[in-house]
């Protein structure tokens, strides 16, 4: 049985949130995974810069963010927001629920147009992360994460008021 080092197991545990963050940045699942892979390689290279016991999620996400901007500089991030690219819930519109699906697509568009930090916070909130987890992943304070989330949800409500 393979024995994982503390660094390796922490890194593996941080991958799901890194993928989520990368998706919020790239707005494209395929590019997001490319970015995460690049980031993992960079993280392994810089293992000596990471202090065990500190927040590896925030550290990895910082690398993800830098990798995203590097990729963006090379103009290789495409923004292909198709229904298929929006996750399992968006794959096949079910008759009767079509209107709802269209609305969700619009919400997704709305989120994609948000500034980076708001997009990241809301994407993590969507996936059920707690305020503290969002804050930790993004290197924010819990209060700061709450303020950003609150502001974004108000914007969202203005765009999609209750019918």
């Amino acid at each position: 049985m393979r024995i994982y080092s503390a660094f390796e197991s922490s890194l593996l545990a941080a991958i799901p949130k890194a993928r989520l963050y990368a998706r919020s940045l790239a707005r494209n699942n395929h590019d997001a995974d490319d970015i995460v892979q690049q980031s993992l390689l960079r993280a392994i290279e810089r293992e000596n810069q990471f202090q065990l016991g500190t927040n590896i999620g925030a550290w990895l996400n910082t690398i993800v963010r830098n990798a995203f901007y590097d990729k963006q500089k090379s103009h290789s991030v495409s923004r292909t927001d198709s229904l298929e690219d929006m996750g399992p819930g968006f794959d096949i519109p079910v008759p009767g629920e079509q209107m709802e699906t269209v609305e969700l697509f619009e919400v997704k568009e709305f989120i994609n147009d948000l500034p980076e930090q708001e997009r990241a916070v809301i994407s993590m909130y969507v996936e059920g992360m707690k305020y503290k987890e969002i804050a930790d992943a993004l290197g924010l304070t819990r209060g700061n994460a709450m303020v950003v989330l609150c502001r974004t949800r108000k914007k969202l409500y203005e765009a999609f008021p209750e019918r």
């Binding site: 799901p16 989520l20 290279e45 819930g89 709802e100 809301i122 709450m146 303020v147 108000k154």
Partner: protein, 390 residues
């Protein structure tokens, strides 16, 4: 604030009797406005010297400047203030909104404590309930998805590759086994519980003390031991005649300090009394080294290499004399046979220890060539062996 103003007023007041440190500091910081005081300071070398600590600390602190005062405030903070003010104007407070959002989401409040807010029916509640429901429907479940196989492989292979690369680096060759060894010892100790750890520490200490005692028990070799190579060995033919006598056939007696200051020239013969018994008795190597140290004391490398004169140490006892003839050679002009046996290093002396008769010093009973390297850490004194078949 008032105090500060008061202080700056003081700086600009009429000329004080004595220029205080505060004035000097203000001058260095460019905050001193009083031209008369400035003139006094600039004309006085003493005051300029006195202000040196302020100049130094000013430079030191300037290097720590972050420039935060010149940077724009973060956008998020500006937004927060604006929203807070706007919300306040609308009769809402941002904290109030945050508390409601937390309540709707089933989380602790803004301060991290449970929300005791009961008014959850207002507009804010509607906003957060609606957006919460909308956003929950968009969940993709990415966090619950297993990590893709390619990413797992990438991490595993990346770390393995890095380990191999590190193992091939020269630093790793030394560090890894050493750190691994000590790491194992420490983890072994840690794994034993406190009582066993204590026993392990005690055992290691006893072992270390034992090793130290054994090592310190090693007595340096006696002269006889060192001289064993000579006993029964090859007799050397030496040029003792020219070394031992002055032109008038007398010997000059020198004390050790006098010898160390003596000008040693070729042809001079120096003798001193050896405090010890003949060489066959108990002259220890360390005693001999001490004599040699004193003889060459204060002579630099150049002087030592030019020390081509001879000196002798003469100790009379029981009809025998011990003489140490010191001759220094540069490797270039070293043409005596013993140079062939060992590579002569700079700052080393080739000497000869001769045992002869008191009545007839020219008769050499025993002779042994040696090399003495005062700057060496090990084997400062070495006997030179006779050439095979010589």
């Amino acid at each position: 604030m008032k105090d500060k103003n008061k202080k700056s007023e003081n700086f600009n007041s009429s000329i004080p009797d004595e220029i205080s440190n505060e004035f000097l500091m203000a001058y260095v910081d460019g905050e001193l406005k009083d031209l008369n005081v400035i003139k006094i300071i600039e004309r006085s070398p003493d005051l300029k010297e006195k202000m040196a600590p302020f100049v130094w600390t000013r430079q030191l602190l300037a290097s720590l400047k972050t420039g935060i005062l010149d940077k724009p405030s973060p956008e998020s903070m500006i937004d927060m203030v604006r929203e807070g003010i706007a919300a306040q104007e609308r009769g809402h407070s941002l904290i109030h909104d945050l508390e409601i959002m937390a309540t709707v989401d089933g989380e602790a409040g803004f301060g991290g404590e449970e929300v005791s807010f009961s008014e959850n029916q207002g507009e804010a509640t509607k906003i957060f309930s609606r957006t919460g429901a909308l956003l929950r429907r968009m969940r993709t479940g990415v966090l619950q998805e297993p990590v893709p196989e390619n990413m797992l492989r990438l991490v595993e292979e990346g770390l393995k590759k890095k380990e191999i690369q590190a193992a091939q680096s020269p630093a790793f060759e030394i560090q890894k086994p050493v750190t691994r060894f000590f790491g194992r010892i420490v983890s072994w100790w840690a794994s034993l519980g406190p009582a066993y750890s204590l026993v392990a520490v005690a055992a290691t200490t006893i072992l270390a003390v034992g090793l130290y005692v054994t090592a310190s028990d090693q007595v340096p070799p006696t002269w006889e031991e060192r001289f064993a190579n000579f006993e029964g060995g090859q007799q050397f033919v030496t040029e003792t005649e020219s070394w031992l006598s002055n032109d008038d056939g007398t010997f000059t007696n020198f004390t050790l300090p006098a010898l160390s200051q003596a000008k040693l020239l070729m042809g001079d013969v120096h003798q001193i009394s050896l405090p010890s018994a003949p060489i066959t008795d108990s002259l220890s190597i360390s005693e001999l080294e001490g004599v040699l140290d004193r003889m060459i004391e204060g002579k630099n490398n150049r002087a030592l290499l030019n020390l081509s004169g001879d000196s002798s140490v003469d100790g009379s006892s029981g009809g025998q004399i011990n003489r140490i003839f010191l001759r220094a050679f540069t490797p270039v002009d070293a043409d005596i046979p013993e140079i062939m046996y060992e590579k002569i290093q700079p700052r080393c002396i080739i000497g000869e220890l001769v045992e002869g008769e008191t009545a007839n010093p020219e008769v050499v009973l025993k002779s042994q060539k040696f090399r003495f390297c005062p700057a060496a850490t090990n084997n400062r004194f070495t006997l030179l062996r006779a050439l095979e078949g010589n």
